[in-house]
C-alpha cells in the first residue's frame, strides 16, 4: 500500500504574508481564513514575530534578502513564493530563499490549501534530509578513529577482519554507532597505555565498564 500523506490539522496555524498591501493579500487572506489559519501581512520587512509562524508567504517580485530575519535558505518554517513575474532572476532568488512551493499571482480561486500541504511536506523532507546528512558527515569525519580502533584491536593478535567484526559486535552490544564505539575503544586503550587521546568523556567510561 502506498504511503498516505499525513494531512496536518491547519486549524490555528499562523501564517505571515510578506507583501505590500495589495489584492493579492486579500485573496490569499480569505483562503487562509477559510482554511482556519491566523494570518497577518507585513511590508517591507519581517519582524521577529515571523519566527513564531508556521508558514511564510513572500513576494518574489519585489523581495530582497534583507527583508528576512534569517539567512537565505535558513527559514525555520515552510516558505511559499508569490510569483508574478516569471523572470529567471526572480525565480532564482525565490529558490535561494528556500521556497518550498509557489503560488502564481494574481491569486485566484484556489491553490492555497495545496500550497500549504506541499510546502510543509517539502520543508519537513528537507529538514529530515539535512539532519541525516549532518549525521552522515559526522560519521565520515570519524573514519580515521575507526581505522585507529581496528588497528589497536588487531595488535592483540587478531586479523584486521576479526578486529573489525569485534568492533561491530561491541557497537551493537553498547547500542551505539561503530564510530562512537571506535572512539571509546581508542580512548580506553590510550588510557591503558597511558597515552593522551584528548577525546575523553565521562559517559563513555561508564558505558565501557558496563560492557
Amino acid at each position: 500500500m502506498k504511503k498516505r500523506l499525513h494531512i496536518p490539522s491547519l486549524g490555528g496555524a499562523k501564517a505571515v504574508i510578506l507583501h505590500r498591501p495589495h489584492a493579492t493579500v486579500q485573496a490569499l487572506g480569505r483562503q487562509l481564513a477559510a482554511i482556519g489559519l491566523e494570518y497577518w501581512d507585513q511590508w517591507p520587512d519581517l519582524t521577529a514575530d515571523a519566527l513564531g509562524t508556521d508558514f511564510v508567504f513572500f513576494d518574489a517580485d519585489m523581495g530582497h534578502d534583507a527583508q528576512f530575519p534569517w539567512e537565505p535558505g535558513e527559514a525555520p518554517m515552510p516558505m511559499i513564493a508569490l510569483i508574478g513575474s516569471e523572470a529567471p532572476g526572480r525565480i532564482e532568488w525565490a529558490l535561494v530563499q528556500g521556497s518550498d512551493t509557489q503560488l502564481h499571482k494574481p491569486i485566484g480561486d484556489g491553490g492555497v490549501y495545496s500550497a500549504l500541504l506541499i510546502a510543509r511536506h517539502a520543508f519537513e523532507a528537507r529538514r529530515s534530509l539535512a539532519i541525516e546528512i549532518s549525521d552522515l558527515r559526522a560519521r565520515l569525519d570519524e573514519r580515521q578513529t575507526v581505522v585507529r580502533a581496528v588497528t589497536l584491536l588487531a595488535t592483540r593478535g587478531q586479523t584486521e577482519a576479526q578486529a573489525y567484526a569485534q568492533l561491530r559486535h561491541v557497537a551493537m552490544a553498547w547500542q551505539v554507532t561503530i564510530e562512537q564505539a571506535a572512539q571509546r575503544i581508542v580512548a580506553r586503550m590510550a588510557e591503558e597505555t597511558g597515552q593522551e587521546t584528548g577525546e575523553d568523556d565521562g559517559g563513555r567510561d561508564d558505558q565501557s565498564k558496563r560492557s
Binding site: 494531512i7 490539522s9 491547519l10 486549524g11 490555528g12 485573496a27 480569505r30 483562503q31 481564513a33 477559510a34 482554511i35 482556519g36 489559519l37 485566484g108 480561486d109 484556489g110 490549501y113
Partner: protein, 367 residues
Amino acid sequence: MRRQIEIGILYSRQGSYALMSEACYTGAMNAIAQVNSDPQMNVELIAIERDPKCSIDLYQPLCAEILRETSARHVVGCMTSWSRKEVIPGLERAGGTLWYATPYEGFEASDHVVYTHACPNQHLVPLLQWAFDKFGKSAYLTGSNYIWGWEMNRVARDVVSHARGEVLGERYLPIGDTDVAHMIDEIRASRPNFIINSLIGSSSYAFLRAYAALGQQDPHFRPDTCPVLSCNLTEAELEELGQEAEGLIAAGPYFRGEAGWPNHPEQSFGSSLEASAFFAVYTLAGLLSRNSGAETAGLSELLRSPEAASAGIDAETHHTALPVLIAQVRGGKFNVLERWEGVSADPYLSRRSCAPQMQRPNLTVVK
C-alpha cells in the same frame, strides 16, 4: 416596478443521478415561484434552464452558455463535485457565482461558490461518531469512483483510525456501474460493524438491493447489527429503493416532516436537497432584492451583508451553518434518531482535530 433578474438553473433532469438533481430542481423552481409571488420582494426571477443530463462533459459548456448568452450571473446547480469543479474556472472568468445545494466532501472554499448543503463536519464526522457508540468501530467503505467517494472515504479512514477503529475494506465503482458482487463478497467475508455508502445513483441502488439480499441470507448483515450509513441518501431516492431502503441510516440537515431549515422553519420540503436548493434561491433573491445594484455586485460584497449572515452563510468560507440530523428509514420514511442544531461548517476540518467531538451539550435525543 420589480426588477427582472435572470438566474441559471443547471440541474440534470435525466440520467443516472437524476432523482437527486430533480429534487434540487424542484426546490429551486418552487423558490422562484414563491419569490415571484411575494409582494415583499423587489425582484422577479427568470429561470434560464439548462439540462446536462448527468453527462459530466455538458456542465461546463452549458454553464458557460448561461453566462455568455444571458444576463444571469448566478447559477443554481450541479450535483456531483466533479461537475462543480468543472464549472468553477468558467465562473471565475465570467465573474459568476454557483449556488451549490448538495452535500459534498469539503476541502473547498471557492470565491465563486456558495455551499448551501452540508460538508463532512456536518454529515460524515458526526455520523461516524454516532455509529461508533452504537455499532462498533470496524467499517467497510464503498464509493463512486470520483472525488466524492474518494475524499469521503479518506476522511472516514482518518476518523476511524483516530478512534482506534479499523477499515476492513474500501471499494469503488464507476458512476453508473452496477457490478456490486465484489463488494458484497468482501463485506460477507470481513463482517464489519457498519458500511459507509458513498456510491451515487444507480450504483448505490444496485448495492443496497444486493446488501438487503445478503441480509436475508445472513442475519449479521441487517440494520440492527451492520447498517448501511450514508451522507447523501434522501427522500428523493426512497421510492426507487422501495422495501430495500428499510433500516438505512443517513445524516443530513433536514428530513421530511422536520422543522429547522435556516430561515424557513415553517416551510416543509420533500428532502434536504429540495430544501437546500430552495434556500439557495430564496436567500439569493433576498440579497438581490435589497438594493438596485446588487445584480452586478460581486459575491463577496453580497455575502458581507447582514442578511447573508442571518441566513447562516459564513462570509469567509461561503458555507452554511446547518442542523445535523441522523435518521433511519422505517416504514418508508426517515425517523430522526438524533439532532444537533446550528453546526457551523468547517470545510477543511481544521477548526478542531480531524475527528472532532460533537458538542455534547447541544445533543437532544429524539424519540
